[in-house]
């Protein structure tokens, strides 16, 4: 092996090491730790069936957290996740009631509704310059209002289409659930988007300093708007899949996804202030949160204890690697 090839190999190795954030490593370390701790409780924690089942459950959160990560990378936040999820699910189920055409278009229609909510958020944040926390809070309230009026305050009677059920519960290749595939596809697309396209660089740039990104000729407003639309679409898609999983939509189905999605992204080492973070970290965060929830429920811990442990673990892990630099 020639001298130059050697140095290039070491350089590449260093580059690879550098891309491994300590936060991502810690998150993966915590996953292993959780699995080991779980296996003391029961051997079945290390069985492939259990792990696949967890991966399947994690996929729903993973899809929603993907959108959330895009928004957090911009230094914004999307609090409209709960009712975007529910809107996507309910609208897809509602479309299914309108004959064969409705059944075919159910999934795109649900996602389109989510993109609509996201676009609204994006216009408010990017063009009207309203803080994202407020806009998304308000659109969440409006989406909730529209859905409550639409359903009459009850869970809608329409049920999910066969296609939705197949995507959420079926398995194209025996043993590997479809929804895991979907998450992998979306994840791969996200990695490509963030690392290989101008859009991705612009997202990191805006997250670091929007003013500088604007001055270097990036159309920052369009990018912010697009990111919010993508987040809305992904949340709604998560909702569509959840509706397929439960074979119907429910009033508060999205409530359990807002805080875990934020926690997963942040635990994966993405800075809540934006501009820093990798998708691998988000994957780790999602799996970590899902495993934590699963282990706490398997050990038959009462809900109260689960909430306390959940909160304490998040705080401790953030104290390990999520701290801001000290004031100078």
């Amino acid at each position: 092996m020639s001298e130059t090839a050697m140095t290039r190999a070491t350089e590449r190795k260093q580059g690879f090491m550098r891309s491994l954030d300590p936060a991502v490593l810690t998150a993966f370390g915590c996953i292993v730790l959780l699995l080991v701790l779980g296996s003391f409780y029961s051997r079945s924690f290390l069985s492939p069936e259990y792990l696949l089942q967890q991966l399947k459950v994690a996929s729903f959160l993973g899809i929603i957290a993907t959108g959330m990560m895009l928004v957090i990378l911009l230094g914004q936040i999307d609090l409209s996740v709960p009712w975007t999820v529910a809107t996507g699910a309910m609208m897809a189920c509602a479309a299914a009631a309108y004959g064969p055409l409705g059944t075919t278009l159910a999934i795109p229609f649900g996602i389109l509704c989510g993109i609509g909510i996201g676009l609204f958020n994006g216009v408010g944040v990017a063009y009207l310059r309203i803080p994202s926390m407020i806009v998304t809070l308000a659109t969440n309230a409006v989406a909730q209002g529209v859905m409550v009026v639409y359903t009459g305050g009850f869970s809608p009677q329409d049920s999910a289409t066969a296609a939705m059920r197949y995507l959420a519960t079926g398995a194209l290749i025996p043993g590997i659930p479809n929804v895991v595939f979907i998450w992998a596809l979306i994840g791969a697309a996200m990695v490509f988007l963030l690392r290989r396209t101008g859009f991705g660089r612009a997202v990191y740039g805006i997250g670091n300093r929007e003013r500088a990104a604007y001055l270097s000729g990036i159309n920052t407003r369009r990018i912010v708007m697009t990111a919010f639309a993508a987040s809305g679409g992904l949340s709604a898609f998560g909702g569509v899949l959840l509706a397929g999983y439960a074979s119907k939509a429910a009033q508060s189905m999205g409530d359990a996804y807002l805080l875990p999605a934020i926690a997963a992204v942040v635990l994966g080492g993405t800075s809540i202030l934006g501009g820093r973070g990798s998708y691998l970290g988000t994957v780790a965060g999602v799996i970590l949160i899902t495993l934590l929830q699963s282990i706490l429920s398997v050990t038959q811990m009462p809900e109260a204890g689960r909430q306390i442990i959940y909160g304490v673990v998040i705080i401790l892990m953030l104290l390990l690697y999520g701290r801001a630099p000290a004031s100078r």
Binding site: N140, L273, A304
Partner: protein, 326 residues
């Protein structure tokens, strides 16, 4: 700029919130079948005061450029605690009230310590502490129940001289005894300064850490007052996740309506109190117009959206596009 012009500009947010509230309340009472009577006001006050306390607690954190997503859970936790402790003889009741307030302050101080000394971002730190507080509330009250000293409860939710709602008086007392001294003290100034620009405040030697810690602690204390009043109204403790979440989100809405900047350093808890009262009145408007209660969430959302869109009017004052980015 003349002195009064400066003062007007400084209090513009608070005055706008007051104006919105007055207009809404006039529309409300004018259309209420019973009209402007002591009873109507008492009911409205009792509903509004709870959110007003929580919004005031939220303001204290927001002026330091933070956000407290656990405020609704502190409110629930203290409600559940009060349903155990605020009972029995006057002495026991007084002791119970003190313990409840101390626990609220401790929750707030914990948030503050994690944010200030742990250097975590307030938004994620309080999500996590909120889960912990909700868990403790659930431990205290797995099922709704408990009781409260009914003499005290009736006294504080009734009317003074058969006219003035006692809860409003209590709210005013809290504003005068907690908010006004705090916002005028050195630590209060430091909290504002830290919210405006932490680096500048640090460089000027202001006690920003103690100021912020005090702000978080008082925030917990005021949220606990809200929890106490919730117990006085309902006579029970109930760890309802949805209710705690709703109070957290509504408190942010009230703070925004009250002219407090979410970027920190600007606004007043008095504005947030009027924002909270206005927000509650908006919700009640539907009932006097005899609309289907199903429309209430949509109506509240649209009003909230309209209110925040007013903030976008500031865009017309922007001379240089770089000002978009703060």
């Amino acid at each position: 700029m003349k002195d009064w012009e400066y003062r007007l500009a400084e209090h513009r947010g608070t005055l706008t919130a007051l104006a919105i509230f007055v207009v809404m309340f006039i529309i409300y009472t004018a259309n209420h079948p019973a009209g402007f009577t002591a009873n109507v006001i008492q009911t409205a006050a009792n509903k509004g005061v709870l959110l007003a306390f929580v919004a005031m607690a939220q303001t204290m954190v927001v002026i330091t450029a933070g956000i407290d997503l656990s405020v609704g859970m502190i409110f629930l936790l203290t409600n559940c605690l009060a349903s155990w402790l605020v009972v029995g003889s006057p002495l026991e009741t007084a002791f119970g009230v003190l313990v409840v307030l101390a626990v609220g302050a401790l929750c707030g101080a914990t948030n503050g310590a994690i944010v200030i000394y742990g250097r975590l971002q307030p938004i994620v730190a309080t999500i996590a502490t909120g889960a912990v507080y909700f868990g403790i509330a659930l431990l205290l009250r797995p099922f709704p129940g408990g009781s409260v000293n009914e003499h005290l409860a009736d006294a504080l939710t009734g009317r003074i001289f058969a006219v003035v709602p006692a809860s409003l008086v209590a709210l005013a007392a809290v504003v005068l005894l907690i908010w006004v001294p705090f916002s005028r003290s050195v630590y209060g100034r430091a909290a504002y300064a830290a919210g405006s620009s932490e680096t500048s405040a640090y460089m000027s030697g202001m006690p920003i850490r103690r100021g912020k810690l005090l702000a978080y602690t008082l925030s917990g204390l005021v949220a606990a007052l809200g929890g106490l009043f919730l117990t006085f109204f309902t006579y029970t403790g109930d760890a309802a996740f949805a209710s705690g979440n709703a109070y957290t989100l509504f408190s942010i809405a009230a703070v925004v309506l009250g002219g407090v900047s979410l970027f920190g350093g600007k606004g007043s808890a008095i504005g947030a109190v009027f924002g909270a009262l206005a927000f509650r009145t908006i919700g009640d408007l539907l009932f006097v117009f005899d609309l289907d209660p199903l429309w209430q969430p949509l109506f509240q959302g649209l009003i909230l959206l309209a209110a925040i869109s007013l903030g976008a009017l500031a865009l017309f004052r922007v001379r240089n596009r770089l000002e978009w980015f703060l």
